[in-house]
Subunit: 344 residues, 2 copies
């Protein structure tokens, strides 16, 4: 790459120089990252960012993103890397404020793809009301990584009155999901070249901080919140059951699963309960507030499909049990086999 | 991997299941990460961590680490990933408090190596007085990444009175380096298999927050602080000169460079000014405080080799100029060619 020329964002590729901390690194920053992530803290170009914080307790969450393919129906690794971390912060009942972003790039990765990813991150930040205030970029030689990996870390603030935690579910509580499950995982799997399935499926990737804010405003006590990403609803609920020392009884018929997701899962021999969502949340709340909470959720555009899917029960073995409409039931364990690698 | 057995931390390898969010992921967390990074926030196993913050302004810094080889004389990718981010936070004049850690692992990576890396991170955290409060682990298929990549993000607090920023250097200010330069980069390069150099060189990787605290206690106004990592002293000072709209005149004779570093650099045709440090800092302060600051730095174990290496000058072209002892001088530009990939 000639250092005297502007970056060729249409036909150029990532160059090993761009990770070396010199002029090429700076140009990537100045010509690609800064225009997209425009904000005062980032532009100060310090080793980090200094940012103001409202009073409260601090929440920190981090997510590495290695999804393959990086572009999939309904999204890409860029937007996903913002949503993933914004949602993790939101699941603590916090308002997301700032993100850091670290990129690991493979030499030869097309700059046009990088620009598309970065623009998607910027749009996702805009929607979520957060800023990328600091970042880092490393480049590894061709074959040393696969295209682009992005780690985002989110910082947010949670009010003292909010007491959401994975160990707070109690027998009698109700379990809510905010919408149809498995759409992200099914869309990514269907997109993989080796499968080449033709479906109208799109990922559900979206930020959930606004939905969480609406839920907090309902005044109903939120005991647990979790976004069922890797491992799906089954793994997330198993984790909550274990942490709280309770069982969870799921009503199979009331779990929203779209027809396309069912189709992809049947074809691939997967259970939708284990397939990742990136724009849904699970909430556990006391029974007496559940209808009010559901009403608030359904009034929010990201919670229109919310449904009560189960109940917390006493169970020393802390099992997740799925009850079928015809009266049968089966234990739904943590994901053990059938891994779905690089789904997020 | 049989899911009923404990992880084989001596002979086992990273398995694609360990990134899938199910039982294998959880066991990696329970048997490897949690025992090493033992702290209350991490053990709550939420999607993120809730942590208390003292009053002040928040500092956020992030670093991706892709160093190769991952074990090098004087350190490894684990300790380095803690030092790198702790130091970035410290360079803002802040006290580092919390870290997040995200791991991207290649399938087949030996668990014994991962344990060594994680233990090194834990030791580095202990020394730096920080906790890893949240994290994430992804696994990619063999060939999709190179062993292990670690992104750490640090959060710290900076007092209102501290006004360190890259644009605050003024003509007449003095430039200090905290010790001999280039040792990290030279040690890593010498270790690379293709070179196989035999040297007694060790990386300078170390946390600098304590040294920064001692410098702040001196009462001398700190205008700029920067750790000269990728791109070395030359790139860091060029960045400060540009941001401040000044020139910097370096006195070649006063720049501390060890004999081993000189030797490796001569052999590889490198200029030590461009070789990364991971345990040194550059400081710019007003001339009238420089002796007091130097005294405070030298009294600290991590600043014993501190030296004044130059002066900030008026220069519209914002150049870094190296003055040789015999009276010659040359412009030292930002790093343009000769990249040293995967040095950190």
């Amino acid at each position: 790459m000639g250092v005297g020329l502007a970056l060729d964002l249409r036909h150029g590729c990532v160059d090993i120089n761009m990770g070396a901390g010199g002029l090429a690194s700076e140009r990537l920053l100045q010509e690609l990252f800064l225009p997209a992530f425009d904000n005062v803290a980032l532009q100060s170009l310090g080793d980090g960012a200094v940012v103001p914080m409202p009073p409260g307790r601090l929440v920190v969450a981090t997510d590495a993103h290695v999804v393959s393919p990086i572009f999939f129906p309904g999204g890409d690794i860029g937007g996903l890397s913002v949503h993933g971390t914004v949602n993790d912060v939101a699941m603590m009942g916090a308002r997301p404020l700032y993100l850091s972003a670290s990129f690991i790039l493979e030499e030869g990765f097309p700059l046009a793809d990088l620009k598309r990813v970065v623009d998607s991150m910027a749009a996702a930040c805009h929607e979520a009301g957060v800023s990328i205030v600091t970042g880092d970029t490393k480049v590894v030689e061709k074959g040393g990584a696969d295209g682009v990996f992005i780690t985002t870390t989110g910082v947010g603030m949670v009010e003292e009155s909010v007491g959401i935690a994975p160990d707070r579910a109690r027998p009698g509580d109700r379990v809510i999901v905010s919408g149809p499950i498995g759409e992200h995982g099914a869309a990514v799997l269907a997109q993989r070249r080796e499968l080449g399935l033709e479906t109208a499926l799109t990922s559900d990737t979206q930020p959930l901080h606004g939905l969480v804010a609406a839920m907090l405003e309902s005044g109903v006590e939120l005991r647990c919140l979790r976004d069922p990403t890797r491992g799906g609803v089954a793994s997330a609920l198993n984790e909550l059951a274990r942490a709280s020392g309770v069982g969870i009884a799921l009503d199979e018929e009331s779990i929203p699963v779209g027809g396309e997701v069912r189709g992809v899962c049947e074809l691939l021999g997967l259970d939708p309960l284990y397939v990742a969502c990136e724009g849904r949340l699970l909430a556990i709340c006391p029974a007496d507030g559940v209808e009010r909470l559901l009403q608030n959720m359904r009034a929010h555009p990201k919670g229109e499909g919310a449904a009560i899917i189960g109940e917390v029960v006493e169970d020393r073995d802390r099992l997740l049990v799925l009850h079928a409409p015809w009266g049968g039931s089966r234990i739904v364990p943590m994901l053990t086999g059938e891994p779905l690698p690089r789904i997020c």
